[in-house]
């Protein structure tokens, strides 16, 4: 049986890597950009219909994560 001696340290390392302002802002920015592209693309009406929800979600996410520690 393998026992992880320092599980909390590993978890903190992962959290430190992901839950930082930089990567989270990058994700939010990508979602906003995707929403804008969905709004103006000429191919699928369904994508156009979901564009507002996507942009709004990205914007709210950006506003929240810009308060997360660096």
């Amino acid at each position: 049986m393998i026992v992880d001696a320092n599980p909390s340290i590993t978890r903190r390392g992962f959290a430190d890597k992901i839950l930082r302002r930089g990567p989270l802002e990058a994700i939010a920015t990508t979602i906003i950009a995707a929403g804008v592209v969905m709004l103006m693309q000429p191919f699928f009406l369904t994508l156009y219909s979901w564009s507002l929800a996507t942009t709004l979600f990205g914007t709210v996410m950006f506003t929240i994560v810009s308060k997360v520690r660096e």
Partner: protein, 319 residues
């Protein structure tokens, strides 16, 4: 004599009043003083920006019509949003906007960066050329819209004559503003003519921020001019180019005045960008609730893009 005594009485009163006012102000804390100065601005901001925004959000959920203010207002929920986001006509207007935004941003960025690259070489008379290039940017969009309408005239317009001169065709054989295929390009040309200098200015700031010693080090390493451009100039000017792209993208997404003056959205709806569709819904059809919902959709998009813009701006600032 009487005048003299009157003025001395006023002075005496002023001397009596001033210390008490000073004492009262001196009694305020720094925080209170800060609030005293900020309050008028906040009140103005609330009255001019925040209240209309909240009111528009409220109206976007109702059937309110501005031409029938006394009619009962019914709460419709998200009906208008669903209607707009499934309407093929509004989707078409978004595609017209996309055509306008993408082409203007591409042309302005390529030309603006090219001009900035040339101006940065500091040739003889580069100052006067910079001023001449910047002139269109300083004009009002209303003026630009009006005089380009004359330039595009098939009979007397200079644009048609110049094109006919280079293509050996007939000047009156095409109409830039009346042709379904050409009118979307007509508004792109005018916007590119007007705003390329602005992009040039931002790119020039980026190019001038690159220190000379990097090029000197590249020269020592025998890097060719081509290599210097791709490895030094372009990467270091990229944040500034991004800034220009985002700013022009946001501005052109909201474009109204120039397009309204040039084509008014026509012929048909070939140049009907989103803001013109919005104006027609709000002030021609008087569908205030519907147009409020449309305005909120455009606002969310612009707000999202503005967030990206601010992020790019901070990146440039931190350099």
């Amino acid at each position: 004599m009487n005048d003299l005594s009157a003025s001395s009485r006023i002075n005496y009163q002023a001397v009596m009043v001033r210390p008490s006012v000073e004492r009262r102000i001196r009694g305020l804390s720094d925080k209170a003083l800060a609030w005293l100065f900020i309050t008028p601005t906040i009140v103005l901001l609330l009255a001019i920006n925040i209240f209309p925004l909240l009111w528009t959000i409220y109206l976007s959920f109702t059937n309110y019509r501005a031409n029938r203010p006394n009619a009962p207002t019914i709460w419709l929920g998200t009906d208008w949003y669903q209607s707009i986001l499934t309407d093929p006509d509004i989707w078409a207007a978004m595609q017209v906007t996309a055509h306008f935004v993408i082409w203007t941003v591409v042309i302005e960025t390529v030309l603006g960066f090219g001009l900035a690259f040339l101006i940065d070489k500091k040739f003889r008379g580069h100052g006067i050329w910079t001023t001449i290039i910047l002139l269109p940017m300083m004009l009002s969009p209303a003026v630009v819209g009006n005089f380009w309408t004359f330039l595009y005239q098939p009979q007397i317009g200079l644009f048609n004559y110049v094109v006919a001169f280079f293509t050996s065709g007939d000047a009156s054989s095409f109409q830039m503003l009346g042709d379904v295929r050409l009118s979307p390009w007509a508004i792109v040309i005018v916007d590119a003519w007007m705003w390329t200098p602005y992009v040039m200015l931002i790119c020039l700031a980026g190019l001038r921020s690159i220190p000379d010693y990097i090029y000197e080090a590249a020269e020592v390493d025998r890097a060719s001019k081509w290599r210097q451009f791709w490895s030094i100039t372009l990467p270091m000017a990229l944040p500034f180019i991004m800034l220009a792209v985002l700013f022009r993208g946001i501005e052109n997404f909201k474009m109204f005045d120039m397009v309204n003056l040039l084509t008014g959205g026509g012929p048909g709806s070939t140049t009907e960008v989103a803001s013109i569709t919005l104006k027609r819904a709000a002030f021609e059809s008087w569908r205030t609730g519907y147009s409020s919902a449309f305005a909120i959709i455009l606002f969310v998009t612009v707000f999202g893009l503005a967030n990206i813009y601010v992020k790019a701006l901070n990146k440039v600032k931190s350099r």
